[in-house]
Symmetry: C2
Subunit: 322 residues, 2 copies
């Protein structure tokens, strides 16, 4: 019984944030399950299913807060579990897993495109947009608006400590869109010239609070102060089912060496602690709308998405658990 090495590699890359962004993490996790199914040398269906569960568990444990990750695993493994319980043989189960993984990846990619189409309608010619971090869904909105011939400009914050703003700035610029790149602290200074804020989400709670890259809440706060709309672009698999049962989302604390290089940190006085939270929580009242692939919703409708999409997730133990 063995997990294939590609799964371990992907798990490591998710852990190290070489694979980043909630969507990419989710698709990579689904793809890892697909590879496990394709490359497994298991001799019978029980061995195969045990391997799948083991792979899912390894992937699940890489990032405690990326809700898209368990949601992707749930999507694939739930379908596997149903097939396994109803007596599928090895090849049938392999087929179910591979198909489910491909389906998830396809839907997820389509979701980003669809979000672009829906969100771009709320962008007007001449708009100055502010964004934070690197969100495929948020970028999709801006690119679509640009495709439609709208003359936009994007203010990109650098996004300490990991500088995801650089990736965003270059991706937009390569697409032809003019970019203004600033430090995170400049968000309020340039909010007066900003028309719309478009950001992504790592996950969304049952009451419409947005967990996203540290700094998101500050930008949404000053946007509200300026009567500038904060629009959150988020695929439905970003909605956090456990929050329906009261679960608080754990804010991942990452290594201090992301903030201060290890060599430098060694020389610092011992009574300085470096705290490095990956995310913050934006209250629903600072969010104008959430743009999903199903359509635009107010944050208060997060519960409707959750009930529709993940109702089932609350009725079972995780599909990779015994």
């Amino acid at each position: 019984m063995a997990v294939v090495k590609e799964v371990l590699e992907i798990a490591q890359e998710i852990k190290d944030m070489r694979i980043r962004g909630a969507g990419k993490i989710a698709r990579s996790a689904a793809y890892a399950l697909q590879l496990q199914a394709e490359k497994s040398t298991a001799k019978d269906v029980d061995e195969f299913w045990n391997e799948m569960k083991q792979a899912a568990k390894i992937l699940y444990e890489t990032r405690p807060t990326a809700v898209s990750l368990p949601n992707a695993l749930r999507y694939v493994m739930h379908r596997g579990k149903v097939a396994y319980s109803s007596g599928a043989d090895l090849e049938e189960l392999r087929y179910v897993i591979i198909t489910a993984a491909k389906e998830f990846i396809h839907n997820s990619e389509k979701a980003v495109e669809r979000i672009g189409e829906i969100g771009a309608k709320r962008i007007e010619d001449g708009d100055v947009i502010m964004t934070h971090c690197h969100s495929k869904a948020a970028l999709s909105v801006m690119k679509k608006a640009w495709d439609q011939g709208k003359d936009i400009k994007v203010i990109v914050t650098e996004t300490r400590p990991k500088w995801q703003g650089k990736i965003t700035a270059k991706e937009l610029a390569d697409y032809g869109i003019p970019v203004i790149y600033v430090v995170d602290s400049a968000a309020r200074h340039y909010m007066k010239m900003t028309d719309k804020v478009v950001m992504g989400a790592d996950s969304i709670t049952v009451n419409g609070a947005v967990i996203n890259k540290i700094g998101t809440a500050l930008i949404a706060l000053t946007a509200k102060e300026h009567r500038v709309w904060t629009m959150i672009a988020a695929e439905t698999y970003k909605f956090h089912p456990d929050t329906m049962l009261g679960q608080l989302v754990e804010i991942e604390m990452r290594d201090p060496t992301e903030v201060i290089p290890e060599e430098e940190l060694k020389t610092w006085p011992k009574n300085i602690e470096v705290w490095n939270p990956a995310f913050d929580v934006t209250p629903p009242e600072y969010v104008d709308v959430i743009i999903t692939e199903r359509g635009i919703i107010p944050p208060s409708a997060a519960i409707d998405i959750l009930k529709e999409e993940f109702g089932w997730a609350l009725k079972y133990s995780e599909p990779w658990e015994d």
Copy 2:
């Protein structure tokens, strides 16, 4: 007729921000005038006074927005001008300048101490304080509270792009005060655990708006949202006389290479502009009190300080101008 090389060196250091912090800049400028007076080889009083004016002009032009700098120059040069006009000889004028410079430096250092004493009374045992950038006056408040045996902890933001937070964190830690060091974007995330915000000012306008390091306004905004007091520690020479006549404070735009290293920036697409504003403006309604060496004032009393302190500055042309 010559400006001594020490003046040019100090001017360069101010320009490059090797000398930084409004107080230090002001004292360095006064000290530069003192050195000019001490080392001048001028043969008569006219040559000497022309050198002084030239030195003052060079210093004045280093940083367009640091109000403490012209205020320091005004303090020294105004006294020089009065002496010169009333017929002082070379040695008398030299003495007046040196004395005025020493006086300014002494008052300014005493001001920081006095601000510490006054501000510390508003710090309570167990307080968690948040600060931004590196402000001698703000640090004086925290150190004084610590000296009084109050068990405080300070959250220090790194302060991109120039990392002045590192200097602040180490200075506090070396003083024995426990420090939590975070990226600027974490200000809202940790505002819930913050009891008081203490920050400095680069300058203060006639209506009590605070011009300070980029990011200050965001922190003050979220502090207000949390009913956490924002206290601005500022010597009276930070108050901006020109704003009484309607002048807007110019927000200094600094070099993009402070944000992105030159080598890296060269490789970036041409449609990315890097904007690097040094300061932002915090509206008076987000500021609870301003702590000056004269006492605590509400931001609305900024005009009283200005009328008292710099009334004269508005009646004359700059003392280094003909």
